[in-house]
């Protein structure tokens, strides 16, 4: 059985130890294992649903290669994706769906990205990255020498008020782990975190919240939302003490709060009592954002804020982040989408294998420089630590 697995991995052009437990693998490698699993059954039709959503660019490329190989081997591949560049790089035909109905099916060759986006959102989309220039204020977050053995090493950076700082790098390079440690979800081994000039106690999300730090987590369904609970309850869950009088939560205040944010974020919902599990992915993400913005934070950390949501909502999220930064909010964003990083960030921090490799200002951050730093194929000039 192990030999069979090794043969399959060979066919896919990857080098994996068949004895390793799947739990410790990177998401990319887990995807490869999934595909190997499908091949082992001699599948003729393979459906891939958002296979690259959690992958970085180079990893995605490897997966697309595998998909091409499968196609050339005679298998039919159905590829579901939000990433148009992949669609155009890989697919022969495409089908656009909106609101549960097919909008159009046509060969890829006869269309372009702009047209597909129009089909997807049903209208013209003008500005995908509505970044407004801001002047950075005081340092809100100061991280120095943050280290967790085996996860990330000696990470130092600052985030100022009104600034959007992006964490770029491959999935698994330790970006999410750093922001989790900053917010206090995970314990770190050494280093320090300061918010507005005074140290933040480690491993205490409540203390972070009290000091105006908010974290929109990576995984919306598992970490961001209480799926069976209503829109109102999800929105209010972090600020319950503010809504409570003598320990009893005032339902009216809760609903007012939720209604306020639903309106501000243009949430499309079927009533504040609707369970969030019935909302679309994009609207779910808006609820997560509402939940954290309701805490009135000084520092908003967003981890993959637009993963797996449609193009229209993506633009709304970007506009919201820009607008908040414009009002003096410090934003720290982890993202695997280079266009998003380059379009939104005032500064880009690039991580590789748990280390901060480069810090690039908006002006000097280009796709090539970020990717080179992220993959370590060449060292890039940059401060390497806080600006």
């Amino acid at each position: 059985m192990r030999r069979d697995a090794a043969v399959l991995f060979g066919q896919l052009g990857v080098d994996l130890d068949p004895d390793r437990p799947a739990r410790g693998l990177s998401i990319a490698d887990q995807q490869i294992v999934e595909i190997a699993k499908a091949l082992s059954t001699d599948a003729r039709v393979i459906v891939m649903d958002e296979p690259t959503a959690a992958l970085s660019a180079s990893e995605s490329e490897r997966l697309l290669d595998v998909a091409r190989r499968l196609r050339d081997g005679g298998a039919a591949v159905v590829f579901v994706s939000h990433r148009l560049d992949e669609v155009f790089a890989l697919c022969d035909r495409l089908t656009v769906m909106r609101d549960g109905a097919t909008v159009r099916t046509c060969p890829v060759a006869g269309t372009d990205a702009g047209e597909v986006v129009r089909w997807m959102v049903g209208r013209e989309l003008t500005d995908l990255f509505p970044k407004t220039g801001t002047t950075p204020g005081d340092v809100v977050l100061r991280v120095r020498g943050l280290t967790t053995d085996g996860v990330f090493d000696d990470v130092s950076f600052d985030v100022r008020a009104g600034e959007i700082v992006a964490f770029a790098g491959l999935v698994g390079s330790g970006r999410s782990e750093v922001v989790r440690a900053v917010f206090g979800i995970d314990r770190y081994d050494s280093g320090s975190v300061e918010v507005l000039g005074s140290p933040l106690p480690p491993a205490d999300p409540r203390a972070a919240l009290a000091r105006g730090v908010a974290l929109v987590p990576e995984d919306r369904r598992q970490q961001g939302l209480f799926m069976p609970a209503s829109v109102a309850r999800n929105t209010a869950v972090v600020v319950l003490s503010r809504l409570a009088r003598r320990g009893v939560v005032r339902e009216r205040a809760e609903r007012e709060l939720a209604a306020h944010w639903a309106q501000r974020l243009q949430l499309r919902h079927g009533g504040l009592d609707q369970p969030v599990e019935r909302l679309s992915g994009g609207n779910q993400q808006k609820v997560v954002l509402a939940k954290w913005l309701a805490t009135d934070p000084r520092l908003l950390v967003v981890d993959e804020p637009t993963r797996g949501i449609d193009v229209g909502t993506k633009a709304e999220v970007h506009r919201l982040l820009s607008e908040q930064a414009g009002r003096g909010l410090a934003v720290l964003m982890v993202s695997s989408e280079l266009p998003e990083v380059l379009g939104m960030a005032d500064r880009v921090l690039v991580m590789r294998e748990g280390r901060l490799m480069a810090t690039l200002d908006r002006g000097e951050a280009t796709q090539e420089r970020v990717m080179l730093a992220a993959t370590g194929q060449a060292s890039v000039a940059g401060e390497g630590s806080a600006a």
Binding site: I185, P205, R206, Q222, Q223, F226, A229, V238, V249
Partner: protein, 326 residues
């Protein structure tokens, strides 16, 4: 689950129907003295079911509650004999419950062990300590004034003295679960522990406190049990853990956490007590009672699922029909 068909409402309706039908077919059933008996009979189960609801809502479980109650009961007897003061004994018993709950809570929240495994272990440990404490003896010399509290009625009413305690605690636990921040946290933790941590809910501290409260209330139940049976014994409350859990689940609390209501649980305990009493008065043998308890528990999970599938099927069909008509 569909809102109209929600299980907690169904249980309440079942309770009302059972009492009404019982009153018609058996005049003895609806009599005051039987009502008092039923209340007394479900006393300990109801008490422990209140905090157990919280625990199961957060996705944890405590199988050691019956052993905790028994140990608290044994400590009550032991401390009464040692000190000669019932006040001291009661404090010692409740304190024992708190310590037992804290041990469970520590093992689950600090060491990260599964609560099912931990409380199977402490179930044996606490019961073992009962024997270590009392051995082959039974303490049966509690002052008559106290034991009267256990089995006589409030003068002028058919209600046992335990009634006010049940009412006050049930209301208190219901208010906390459904109206306060702590209650919201309990729901949130049950729906997603991870999301709760990200939302700054002190998950470990909350769970630890729930285990402690469960232990304390189990200790209280141990005292009620001792007084009702006028004796403290190492094999008291044997097997109550499954009865409590069955009641909580029957009341519509999801074993996966995050779903449930306090009044559903209270209705369930009252319903199971009434059904048992009614069947007993009808001379239904004990074996059949066991089958009915199990059958009801199965029904509590089967019926909502079947109902949900049925309504989903109808919804789909009506959508298809609506689409078909121009």
């Amino acid at each position: 689950m569909s809102r109209v068909l929600s299980w907690d409402r169904s249980v309440f309706v079942l309770l009302v129907v059972t009492v009404a039908v019982g009153a018609v077919i058996d005049p003895d059933f609806a009599g005051g003295s039987n009502l008092g008996f039923v209340l007394q009979d479900i006393g300990e189960i109801m008490l422990i079911a209140l905090p157990m609801t919280f625990l199961i809502m957060t996705g944890e479980i405590d199988l050691s509650v019956a052993s905790t109650a028994a140990l608290a009961g044994c400590v009550l007897g032991w401390a009464w004999q040692a000190s000669g003061s019932m006040a001291v004994a009661v404090l010692a018993a409740v304190g024992t419950g708190v310590v037992c709950g804290a041990v469970n809570g520590f093992l689950v929240t600090r060491l990260g062990l599964g609560s099912l495994a931990v409380t199977i272990g402490t179930l044996g440990l606490y019961r073992g300590l009962c024997y270590a404490l009392l051995g082959d003896t039974t303490v049966a010399d509690f002052p008559a004034g106290w034991t009267n509290l256990g089995f006589s009625s409030i003068p002028g009413t058919p209600l046992p003295y335990v009634t006010p305690l049940l009412v006050v605690l049930a209301v208190a636990f219901g208010v906390v679960l459904h109206l306060t921040r702590t209650g919201r946290w309990v729901f949130a933790v049950g729906q997603s522990v991870e999301a709760a941590r990200f939302a700054g809910i002190p998950v470990a501290r909350l769970k630890f406190r729930l285990f402690v409260v469960t232990g304390a209330v189990a200790g209280l139940a141990g005292i009620v049990y001792d007084l009702r049976f006028a004796s403290a014994r190492p094999d008291g409350a044997l097997g109550f853990e499954l009865a409590v859990i069955a009641s909580v689940l029957f009341g519509g609390v999801s074993i996966f956490g995050g779903v449930g209501t306090m009044w559903g649980v209270v209705s369930a305990v009252l319903f199971l007590g009434s059904v048992r009493s009614l069947l007993q008065l009808q001379g239904v043998p004990g074996n059949a009672l066991t089958i009915i308890t199990g059958g009801l528990l199965l029904a509590s999970v089967v019926i909502p699922v079947v109902a949900q599938r049925w309504s989903a099927f109808r919804e789909r069909r009506s959508r298809v029909l609506a689409a078909a008509t121009p």
